[in-house]
Subunit: 199 residues, 2 copies
């Protein structure tokens, strides 16, 4: 055992795969996925590379696990009862609020998901699942228009992009536990998007 290994060992033992992923996601965000090496991940997590390879095949699998965490949480929102039953406009409001909650709870993973551009197989898979999520949101907006609860003079696909663009923009500044609280952000966002800012 080298001196470096001796130093990292105690920290290593505390890491579960979940804790590992959390640090890995932060590293990917800080350095960019392409620029991050397994060496960097080993240093940041305090684990030897072989102990990381014990769990995953490499950094692409780590990226896949990290973005899957965000995607699974977002898709789970669509399966919640309040997203399945009732008028589409109320289901949309529920999905909006729940998306803010997912973003707050899974901030590094959602941020990573939003930065993914599709250069590797894992990234292309994430981009495809994002598109599927967007399609389901657009369908929900379209249903709300058809039910007469949302204005019918706007394009549902464009409206969906703008609405969830607003949600996504939260990753740039929203930090749970400091500044504006999650409930206030959720309420203000829903008020702006559905009712508008005019007095």
């Amino acid at each position: 055992m080298t001196e470096a290994e001796r130093r990292v060992r105690p920290r290593e033992q505390r890491y579960s795969l979940e804790e590992l992923l959390h640090v890995v996601a932060q590293e990917f965000l800080r350095r960019g996925y392409d620029a991050t090496s397994m060496e960097d991940l080993s240093r940041a997590t305090g684990r030897t590379k072989s102990s990381i390879y014990h769990h995953v095949s490499g950094k692409e699998e780590l990226l896949r696990l990290a973005v899957a965490r965000a995607l699974d949480a977002l898709f789970a929102v669509l399966d919640e009862q309040d997203a399945q039953e009732g008028p589409a406009v109320e289901r949309l409001e529920h999905v909006l609020r729940a998306s803010v909650r997912v973003l707050a709870a899974e901030l590094p993973y959602v941020t990573l998901l939003l930065r993914v551009r599709g250069n590797t197989e894992a990234e292309r898979w994430a981009v495809q699942r994002r598109r599927e999520f967007d399609r389901r949101l657009t369908a929900l907006v379209r249903t709300a228009v058809d039910e007469g609860d949302l204005r019918d003079d706007l394009d549902p696909a464009l409206v969906t992009r703008l609405v969830f663009g607003t949600v996504n923009s939260l990753v740039d500044w929203f930090r749970p536990g400091s500044g504006h609280g999650r409930q206030q952000v959720e309420d203000t966002l829903v008020a702006m998007v559905l009712e508008g800012l005019r007095a």
Copy 2:
């Protein structure tokens, strides 16, 4: 003159500083600023490093020039007559529309500006100017509330972040000349933010 220099010379002669900046901004976006070397910039622009150093002191000055381009265009919006005169809610609408136009016209520079995190002096300077821009927007929203044209039950600073978060999110998907047109994006954004989506 080496073989490499001979090959790049004809292309180099066509480049103005503006064209240089455009390619540099794309490189910074593609690789990340930290990961981009002067070597990379030399390769991407087809200029020798010494010819780049003839214009600027290094990659930090290139970053500064690139984000200054976005910042200057955005601050210029605030000085336009329609942003200076009339009810604040109309000035806000003008700033919103003009910001979308700046974003469309200066897409790589605005995208770069939004990614800047403040690790170098140029980045810290850009972050400070962004904050100053946000302060002026928040003041505009607050005035519109005081004039009775925007609802007074929402926090102006939070409203400003959400509204311009929506504008900023356009860099993720809006590509002038393909998909939804700029005018439609502008109109839909203003409709959503000011009037809301409810029928």
